[in-house]
Subunit: 220 residues, 2 copies
Amino acid sequence: MNSKPMSESTEMYLKAIAELDDRNSVAVARLAERLSVTNVSANEMVRRLGEQGLVLHKPYKGVTLTKKGRGVASNVLRRQRLWERFLHDHLKIEWAQVYDYACSLEHATAPEVTEALAVFLGHPEICPRGNPIPAEDGSFEPLDGILLSEVEVGTAVRVLAVNATATDVLKYLQERNILPGRELEIVEAAPMQGPLTLRVEKKEVALGLSLAKFVIVEPI
Amino acid sequence: MNSKPMSESTEMYLKAIAELDDRNSVAVARLAERLSVTNVSANEMVRRLGEQGLVLHKPYKGVTLTKKGRGVASNVLRRQRLWERFLHDHLKIEWAQVYDYACSLEHATAPEVTEALAVFLGHPEICPRGNPIPAEDGSFEPLDGILLSEVEVGTAVRVLAVNATATDVLKYLQERNILPGRELEIVEAAPMQGPLTLRVEKKEVALGLSLAKFVIVEPI
DNA sequence: TGTGATAATAAGGTTAGCCATAACATTTTT
DNA sequence: AAAAATGTTATGGCTAACCTTATTATCACA
Ligand SMILES: [Mn+2]
Ligand SMILES: [Mn+2]
Ligand SMILES: [Mn+2]
Ligand SMILES: [Mn+2]
């Protein structure tokens, strides 16, 4: 049917929408930000995607993926996260860099290669950053966790996933041991959008609130 | 120094030149043919590559890689052939399709990933098609074999490499067991550019002369 | 309810790689 | 040496994604 190959740009826009908010709508300006593109360019591209039936844009209300668009996005995420696993587990590439390298490979990966890779890896369910890997049909179980930025002081939590994508942010979190599987406790929350103080691996670290929004945790 | 990333198109032109004739020069029309592009387009691109110091174009005499251009081409070939190994040996993808899939991945592969892949694969020296994999510094030992199309009737030879890249050609050769490592004998050569008759694995097969030019062999 | 912030459009440009068609130059063949 | 084949260049066009600057529409809140 509709299986003409999508451009890298198209795939990245759709993936970005899915990553920013899978269920609700995403402001075009957020998309522009994430993709390092001007608002005007993002608007143009969103119009094109709309014409192809991949997104729905309600002006002033944001963009949403259509069924078709969500399908493509899931598939890109599948390729991306499978490659993340390969790069991390088999090529021993550093955790913080894996996203970036996988983000190039994802666009150069045919369906047959994707599925062969999944078999090779043993059908993993989550990527090194803790996010679920969509199945071939696009389905996946969303994480049920909360943002670290929303947790109350005194709570002990376990990190489920890190949703950042920029290498420098990932590196920053890695250096502070804020990684999937680690346990931590919120020691203090400074007022006025101030940083959190966390106890991680018996050390105290400060973490800005905007960074804490990248971290998904569950109470333990 | 000069390590701005090359476009996919640039990499493909340089690789095509290297594949068509590594040492001598290549007619721009052959390049156009290989890349499925018009002569005019290939000429334009060759001009651009010349301006960047990647090739030298002597009008009516063909294009040659400069030192810089050959460096890039070797590197693309390294990535390509390492991916071929991975796809074939680890993902179990069919021999005839591996070139094509690797040809997409090669452009999406950062140096660190390339080297990690080489380590993972155990620094292989040849790709599944029998061609040498250039080292990180671009060096490699050229095959010393002859074209199957040049072999005299009655000679027994071993296939060293298959230089085709199109999937349908590779599939055709694979079906006839003309694969690296196989031994075969030239039974007959029809006159007037006619087909060869070969004995392969105890069966006789006919092979057109133009296809025989893709096959590199050594006498045994 | 108005005003300032935010979002969208309009208009005009750029670049890389492609295309076709036509003119011109060189090489190869007869 | 002329004709045919092949290669090159000149022109003019196209598309996808980008850009800037200016204008207009809508939303949010004081
Ligand atoms: Mn990407
Ligand atoms: Mn390629
Ligand atoms: Mn315009
Ligand atoms: Mn032009």
